[in-house]
Symmetry: C2
Subunit: 156 residues, 2 copies
DNA sequence: CTGGGTGCAAAAGGTTTGCAACACT
DNA sequence: AGTGTTGCAAACCTTTTGCACCCAG
């Protein structure tokens, strides 16, 4: 339970990178929010709120480091801010995201259904896929329920 | 052949928007480069190079307008700049992109292979997909050939 | 004519960088 | 001790905005 940082510590050590307090803090925030997709600004302000005088520059630098070492993955929702999430070390490549156009919720989806498309890319274009980013935009269950309810109310 | 702008003109008219010279120019550049994915900066500098004193602000405003009316689609390759491309009016939703990690080339792919994933999203999460953005990162045919050639050379 | 559209320049984000001070190893 | 890291602030880059002027309808 307390060893969640071992992947990180090991990766740093084997690359002769330093295990600093700031890096641990950032990794900790990502771990605590591993089911969420935090923006850089959110990560920074969580730490500032806790009394850490960490600078934004360090947050950016550390996140870039984590991404480079494939310990975190970057998610760009085309709304102008980049989000980060710890990357599951078991994943072959990145998972998919369902983005609700109403409430903004992001649902992670594990799926190998892209295998077919990857094969097609190779067959038809000679393109060898190494990673993919799939974002499906639509309306989540809760928002659909909410909307069908208010539709019924407005009909009265 | 000369009527490629009719979709655009019609859409403007039916929304009582004005058919200005600048809008025509921008639409023209997108049409000439319809197989490419131009950044805002590229579109702007193409026009400036041709002697048009158009401002970046207008380019941004017009592209936003085109996107809003689904005449163009925005592509965000997570490299900090947004790209635009005219949208095929027959497409159900956006097509997929194969992005080469070596040369940066972007290949468009039409495919309905996402239908399976969309059904899965609905079945498992109650999530109704309305659009999707799929980017597959990998290595294109040409770069693979080039690399295998230089591999062989370095072996000598 | 009249209001939508444009150019300009300033402002507003978000992200990067140079440099001196700091702190892991 | 030595160098990788950090904080700070300035620089950067892309995108947005306010406003006076302009032009399509």
């Amino acid at each position: 339970m307390e060893d969640y940082k071992q992947d990180f510590e090991q990766e740093l050590q084997s690359n002769s990178l330093r295990l600093t307090g700031q890096r641990m803090l950032i990794y900790g925030v990502l771990w605590e929010n591993r089911e969420k997709h935090l923006t850089v600004e959110e990560i920074h302000s969580i730490l500032v709120r806790r009394g850490s005088g960490i600078s934004v520059a360090t947050v950016y630098r550390t996140l870039a480091l984590l991404e480079e070492h494939r310990l975190a993955s970057r998610l760009c929702l085309d709304d102008g801010c980049v989000r980060y999430q710890l990357q599951d070390q078991l994943e072959k490549h990145e998972h998919h995201h369902l983005v609700c156009e109403r409430c903004g919720k992001v649902i992670d989806v594990m799926s190998d259904m892209m295998d077919g498309i990857e094969q097609q890319a190779l067959d038809e274009y000679g393109f060898q896929v190494r990673n993919h980013r799939v974002k499906l935009y639509g309306i989540c269950k809760e928002c659909r329920l909410k909307e069908s309810k208010s539709d019924k109310l407005s009909m009265l």
